[in-house]
């Protein structure tokens, strides 16, 4: 009998990404695949507000964020999205001290739970 060992890839593949100390330059195509996002977490340990921005593209463009969340100082929360939050090109993320992406806030971590698209 033949056996296989982990890791194994299935058609139903999920991703858990943790980006520690995310900055305003961001991370492009963080999952390496188009994806449907089910939840994302923002942990702002700093004493200033942090703006998390997300793009459905392979680049960071602070003039046109598609998702923007202000996390006030020392806040930690999770955003659940119930249906079809699809990034059909790529998932790119960044965070900054203001919504124009001028500079980074230290100690901001972001986690993403997503499924590959198309599944």
């Amino acid at each position: 009998m033949a056996t296989t060992s982990s890791p194994q890839t299935t058609d139903l593949q999920t991703y858990i990404l943790r980006a520690e100390d995310l900055d305003h330059n961001g991370e492009v195509d963080v999952l390496g695949t188009p994806a449907v996002i089910y939840a994302f977490e923002i942990d702002n340990e700093s004493l200033g507000s942090s703006f998390l921005a997300m793009w459905n593209s392979g680049y960071i463009d602070w003039t046109a964020p598609e998702v923007l969340f202000r996390a006030t100082s020392t806040t930690h929360f999770v955003i659940h999205v119930d249906n079809d939050f699809t990034f059909n090109e790529a998932v790119s993320i960044a965070q900054a001290n203001i919504n124009t992406g001028a500079a980074s806030v230290v100690d901001v971590d972001v986690s993403i739970f997503a499924k590959r698209f198309p599944g």
């Binding site: 507000s49 703006f51 459905n56 003039t63 046109a64 964020p65 598609e66 998702v67 923007l68 969340f69 202000r70 996390a71 006030t72 806040t75 929360f77 999770v78 955003i79 659940h80 999205v81 119930d82 249906n83 079809d84 939050f85 699809t86 919504n99 124009t100």
Partner: protein, 133 residues
């Protein structure tokens, strides 16, 4: 044009129904005050119905102070995206503190923050916003 309606339940949560529709391309968007009587402290959840807007994504922008135009970045604290043809809900746990005590909103088809007039018409898109006092 924009329309808002709000319900306040006995424990102080405010459910704001916010819909916006525009007759056609090139019509300036108007920012609406989405809560008019309550002092809001936290944002709890947002639901956006973008199933009737054709081949356009929709973006709900929320400010925590009165903006002059939809291109105003000051106090623009949240953008929620609803991809074309979707109805989806964002639930925030725990509820996130608001920087101001009011919410102003607009729904547009543009992700570009510098565009005050949409390139594409927005058919009726509805958002339900849950906040608390």
């Amino acid at each position: 044009m924009a329309h808002t309606q709000q319900l306040v339940n006995p424990v102080g949560n405010v459910l704001i129904k916010f819909s916006q529709a525009y007759p056609g391309k090139g019509v300036p968007l108007t920012v609406s005050e989405v809560d008019i009587t309550s002092t809001l402290t936290h944002l709890v959840a947002v639901e956006i119905d973008n199933r009737g807007n054709g081949a356009h994504d929709a973006y709900l922008r929320l400010w925590t102070a009165n903006p002059a135009t939809i291109a105003t970045l000051t106090n623009l604290d949240f953008i929620f995206k609803a991809p074309m043809g979707t109805k989806l809900q964002y639930t925030i746990n725990p509820k996130v503190p608001l920087q101001g005590s009011v919410l102003y909103g607009v729904i547009t088809t543009e992700a570009d923050l510098g565009i005050a007039v949409p390139d594409a018409p927005v058919n009726t898109v509805t958002a339900n916003i849950m906040a608390c006092t």
